[in-house]
Symmetry: C2
Subunit: 338 residues, 2 copies
DNA sequence: CTGTTAGCGCTTTCAG
DNA sequence: CTGAAAGCGCTAACAG
């Protein structure tokens, strides 16, 4: 069955192609009768304009791209949910790309997106990137870019984050309040500003509570979870093993749980754990993990709204602003009972 | 900065547009020197063909759509991961659409996709659909469609599922083996063939183990989790409350856990629970939930591979076949110790 | 081996 | 209020 197009509609109705086209756009400048004739036939024949033709003509795709490190992650899942909910509202389409923390993929995706496939881009950076200059390409092409969560602090565009410094501070303090003296910190990549902010909160909190900083308790993890598991086990086998762990990444907390189990360390008796995490399923969750939970869904919505706003107002360059949402500290058994 | 296009490349190199175009496609029929001159300049200027122009011309978008009920769900998260991994390999783009179990949205998405935006569609049906005729539209437009998990058994196209009957049978049997006599079944929507297959497995298992079928223990849930919570609580407050629950949907198991907690029922002592679930984080998981785990990632890969195969071979109509992968029964404390 | 040309389906001046 | 015509950027005959 051949697809129906403007030309055919025009032929059937004995009007010109441009008249038909206008019927869908310029509601003025066309007689009401003609318009309704056209629209009703279009509906009857189930006409939809060809997106590639109008995209080519108008240089608008009604599509955005979302570039994230991974999807098997509750934070990103919820963020995508938020993004898609706004996109549906605005009648936009959403393309997804996963970098799997691979910088070269991030560069490749961005390269591919600079030629009209999308009108705008939402990105959460991969962990192992140093040079962010590939992102400038989008700016050169007037494609608005909004960062969320894993932002580039130096980028001159909108960044949506959470209060990571404060969260790191709160998390650490929470462990201190439970009597922890030797608090370890697990983080992922020094190239991520959010990781740095969280660590700064941790350090400040230790300082304010007059606890010493022990380099051996600060563990930089990798994109490889087998390696990470080894690192965490080593941490726990140290002579002066920590009595608390603040993990800035959900997966690292999971690995810590597993490592404790293997080493027969009781949580929360021997060691207390708090982690950034967006696991929602409290009923199924191990009751010994306090969490810092980010408002992921809201972040997705916020970032998408800002982007769509820019697109709709043709304000090509997105303001150099930082939007900060607040995470929530969820205390659970691990720490609320001594 | 103006985007670079074929015409500009041609001008700079003093060749015709078609020569440039050919350099990227027909590696034959063009002199090696010209070709390399063109390609190197293209790289230097960071040229990328405009996808909307070539899409319009070739009627190929190098894009597929994935329509799923929701994303905040471990099964779908893993499936998308699998789909995207194949798409990356094949250099395809992936559009995502969430129906949130809303049939009207499913229809609207499919309507929008019949005019060239995508080359193919992967779908997992929304729960409340009866009439699947909207999907025929895609067939009429020669857009291949592959179902995964929530398939339409009557569709004449490829369907990728798991062995749901057998899984339902195994799950029920597992509870029987632990001594359960009054086994409830929670399911979601009679319109979903997979739900029906799972239930058939449940019924067959009861029958084979000479246990009576009690209609009051078979609960049809809804898309609304507050309602579902009420239904489950009612189930548990019945005079002859069940001593085992087989849930065919992860979220329903979570609600059961919560309801048990509220009603002070001990799991697994008072009641044992087994559920379809793709929660991966064993270390964090409550140790009292046995699960039927579907190979979601593999299903995504399988469905995507079949679709891309069809696209690449221009075999527009996808064979009327059913691909069945096997789920895994994961026994945990709830049932492995009496 | 290279160039000319028509046209994918749509939007948008500009004339009438 | 309606229509003719140009052209978005690219591809694919077809000539040369």
């Amino acid at each position: 069955m051949d697809p129906i197009n403007l030309k055919k509609l025009a032929e059937i109705l004995n009007v010109s192609v441009s008249t038909v086209s206008k019927a869908f756009r310029d509601s003025y400048d066309i007689s009401p009768e003609t318009k309704s004739r056209i629209l009703s036939l279009a509906k009857e024949l189930n006409y939809q304009p060809n997106p590639y033709a109008s995209g080519l003509r108008t240089q608008k795709s009604k599509t955005i791209a979302v570039i994230i490190p991974e999807i098997a992650n509750n934070f990103f899942t919820q963020a995508i949910d938020g993004i898609e909910s706004i996109a549906q509202e605005k009648n936009y389409h959403v393309l997804i790309y996963f970098t799997h923390e691979d910088y070269t993929k991030e560069v490749a995706f961005v390269q591919h997106l600079q030629h009209g496939r999308v009108d705008g881009v939402l990105i959460s950076l991969s962990g192992d990137a140093k040079d962010r200059s590939h992102l400038d390409l989008l700016g050169h092409r007037d494609i608005p870019l909004v960062f969320f969560d894993r932002v580039d602090d130096h980028a001159k565009t909108t960044r949506v984050t959470t209060n990571d410094f404060e969260s790191g501070y709160m998390a650490t303090q929470h462990l201190v309040e439970q009597g922890c003296k030797k608090i370890a910190h697990l983080f992922f990549s020094k190239d991520l500003s959010i990781a740095n902010h969280r660590m700064e909160g941790y350090l400040q909190s230790l300082h304010d509570h007059r606890l010493p900083v022990n380099e051996k308790l600060i563990v930089q993890c990798t994109a490889n979870h087998v390696t990470n598991y080894g690192l965490i086990k080593n941490l726990l086998k140290q002579k002066h093993r920590p009595d608390g762990i603040f993990s800035s990444f959900e997966k690292l907390a999971l690995l810590s749980f597993e490592a404790c189990e293997e080493l027969a360390l009781n949580i929360p008796r021997d060691i207390k754990i708090i982690s950034f995490s967006n696991i929602e399923t409290a009923a199924l969750l191990n009751p010994s993990l306090s969490t810092i939970t980010q408002p992921a869904f809201e972040m997705g919505k916020e970032a998408a709204s800002i982007l769509f706003n820019a697109l709709e107002n043709n304000s090509v360059s997105i303001a150099d602003q930082k939007v900060v949402l607040n995470s929530t500290l969820v205390k659970r058994k691990s720490t609320s009972r001594e």
